[in-house]
Symmetry: C2
Subunit: 117 residues, 2 copies
DNA sequence: TTTGTTTATCGCCAATAGGCGATTGATTTT
DNA sequence: AAAATCAATCGCCTATTGGCGATAAACAAA
């Protein structure tokens, strides 16, 4: 089936257009995995997590010293890792000690494992 | 150490400001892992890869039928997966058959494995 | 109470991502 | 040669990301 576009003087295919306004239904693990992956999708955040793994825990300020980034930028990355559930902050006033969230870390680990067979 | 801001009538801390215009040096694997993770950071792309795993291979059109997304949108996701090296396209004119790129898949798998201990 | 220390948040900006319809280009089929 | 099929790309739009400096908020220390 085709139609004619007088403006361009060309044929064009009729296509059934779609709109994803009907929010897509994914299998449950799909979105969880994508969320973890997205949080890991920046080299600075990978590096932060590696640092937390080796140090077990650390303060925001420690990371600011490690990376050539503004304090606000580091804080923003920490926020994203926290929102994804990969880390957690413990108040040690006036500092905050960040650690890997072991429960979610295990979940993420197994989601990636399953995904890659 | 602190200074005084006459505009706001407040003290403020002096902070050594940083600029990351000096492009950051990460360990090699860090950026590779982040790149893979970024490509996996969208549920549609996860779903596409799961589909490719189960079917071994498929055409763009098949995916357009599976997802309630426009053909151009699906094509865009495929492009990103291809750029990340996770899939590859084989010409079967006039179609294109997409498959998992097994070599890079193995690399990604081991990077994630190592990362999660 | 004031000062200093530490971290989060705000406002701004530029760049990227994600979605779409329309179009193009390649290739088969008729 | 003409028509149909298929996938990539273009242009457009909006939303999100990533960076920064400045400010605010919380608390310890003096």
């Amino acid at each position: 089936m085709s139609h004619f576009n007088p403006k361009t003087n060309r044929k064009f295919a009729i296509r059934a257009m779609k709109r994803s306004l009907e929010t897509i239904e994914y299998k449950e693990n799909t979105e969880a995995l994508a969320k973890f992956a997205k949080a890991l999708g920046h080299p600075t955040r990978i590096a932060i997590l590696k640092h937390l793994e080796s140090q077990s825990c650390c303060f925001t300020g420690d990371l600011v010293d490690v990376f050539p980034l503004a304090q606000s930028t580091v804080s923003q990355h920490l926020k994203e890792l926290k929102n994804a559930g990969l880390i957690q902050g413990e108040l040690k006033p006036p500092k905050i000690k960040y650690c890997i969230n072991q429960d979610n870390w295990k979940i993420a680990k197994s989601l990636f494992q399953d995904f890659f067979d």
